[in-house]
Subunit: 346 residues, 2 copies
Amino acid sequence: MEAVTIKDVAALAGVSVGTASRVLSGNPATSADARDRVAAAVAELDYQPNAQARALRSTRSNALGLLVPDVRNPFFADLAHAAEQAALSAGYVTLLGNANERNDQQDRYLDTLISRRVDGVIVAPVGDDLGRLRALIEREVPTVLVDRTVPGLDLPSVTTDSESGIRQAVQHLADLGHTRIGYISGPQATSTGRDRFAAFTRAVAEAGLSQDPELVYFGDYQAASGSAGVHALMQLASPPTALLAADSLMAVGAISILHRLGMRIGTDIALVAFDDIEWFALLNPALSVIAHSVEDMGRIAVDLLLQVIAGETPESVVLPSELIVRASSATPITGTAPATPEQRSQ
Amino acid sequence: MEAVTIKDVAALAGVSVGTASRVLSGNPATSADARDRVAAAVAELDYQPNAQARALRSTRSNALGLLVPDVRNPFFADLAHAAEQAALSAGYVTLLGNANERNDQQDRYLDTLISRRVDGVIVAPVGDDLGRLRALIEREVPTVLVDRTVPGLDLPSVTTDSESGIRQAVQHLADLGHTRIGYISGPQATSTGRDRFAAFTRAVAEAGLSQDPELVYFGDYQAASGSAGVHALMQLASPPTALLAADSLMAVGAISILHRLGMRIGTDIALVAFDDIEWFALLNPALSVIAHSVEDMGRIAVDLLLQVIAGETPESVVLPSELIVRASSATPITGTAPATPEQRSQ
DNA sequence: GGATCCTGTGGAATCGTTTCCATGGAATCG
DNA sequence: CGATTCCATGGAAACGATTCCACAGGATCC
């Protein structure tokens, strides 16, 4: 490539490298004259400092690592966007890693991030497997967990309180007359999978609905398992009249197979999904969701991480969730009339 | 943090730093004995080489930069995923930058990537503004353009041949009896915006349909402009009976407002969108799309970039596009009966 | 058996910065 | 006016790796 270094700048400006460096890093011990001449030389040469050398010497890289289970999942895409923007405005660039919901890829990326000496890491862990997460702790790399936590890892985190949203959803379905709610659960090897399942179990018991264990299908947060879940639940001798999916991708799978089975969502069966994805409102009927703010989650995660980097030990943050009722769950179980204009035939 | 360096490894293994380095980088000039002892020391200390120091000396960072206009756009999220996976399997990590459809953020990220001395950059440029793209050229940073090109920038690229897909779509709509097709165009400051508009214009002329300039609305690839476009087109004295949206986000905006206007997609108005997004098939009615393979695009972009890095000058690649007909455009203009089961009322 | 060739190794230079230390000159003080 | 302080500066060490160079010792050649 090329090779314009601080030495060239110093030479052109007629000062020493030390002085050039001081000017460039805003050290106050510089004369106006030196500042001007260095600035002119930088502009003339279009000098860009070598971040590697700078990081090597100063042991700060001004880079953050962000590790998500799957970028194609719109929830994590939004999270990545929110975190990246927050990091950028704090002067950090973001190294985005994608674990592909696999522990080995997560570990590989963690090693890469350690090697690159990022100043901190935000992780939405794939599962409960610690793996190379231990290495982060041992090296005291500032780390924050987001969306999911891991048992045995005592780190600051930003998570969602699933309880409130799920309770609202179950109560809402109960009010519509549903007594058998099918639950398409996330994997029990993730904290969100466990939390949401526990919340569902409690809410169903409180509302006095059927606690038939057959009404629960354990998926893996991928679209295909949503389809499989619907398939299994609909084959029961006494199938559910309402469905609750624990994340957006499984909801997508559920919708897909319900279409194929010829079941009308909102009329033949009610459907509520966890995660508020923008275009869920565009579906026909529009999908009821349990919403939580992914923008807040990303922003706060960066915020906590910056605090950890600064040597503080911030408290974990738990964000609220809340039910948004749309046409997919607006019809009482006895009725068949559309409840909203969006729900009518196209 | 901590401080386990190659010096510690060498000391523990009882060899010199040079030998330790040779073992670690797979240099054949090492004895089996040295290899074993270094390996043991590495395991014992859980040593991770400092990527900065390595990059500083060897002038290779094993990192690629990927700059997209908007990660939340599912097309670019998929592209990022595909490119990232391809890069990973070639031994590169990916630094993902998000320009937010803004030239200043694009320039800022380009400077960051130059500073970090990435080995190469894949850019889906925001618009025609060269900005800091010039700096990439001047420094001879290996660069590949993806999805969009920029006039005056002679770089290898991977793009889509919009012509074939758009021609198919227009012909398909003509076959259904439509004579006035509304076109929601991308911005003319992007190559895709221009290409697709030109293709549409040609296709309409060839099919003998209305070339009324009022049937074209110029949007900006964001959802809001899709809504605005529908709004404008539907106010015409003689509104279109079919719509073609030049990207997925504008299609989302169009669908949203069509719902609000009470127009039934597929019956009252036909709709076709550029970009095949997975969940477009889940809409009711399912959306007809002009599909092109984003996985191929990401993979090939990395491939071309690796060739450029290797000193070759690869040819640009143009990928095909093709129409996928679904229910949103399956009804002849005179009929009102559903053409597919998916299209019936829910 | 002496010259030549490998092979593995240690030591040192190097990459491009930051930062410490010493210095020289100007400014300030009594 | 001599001594102290301050400020801007140049020079050099350091960060943690890679890589060049020299060299020792064993194998190979004529």
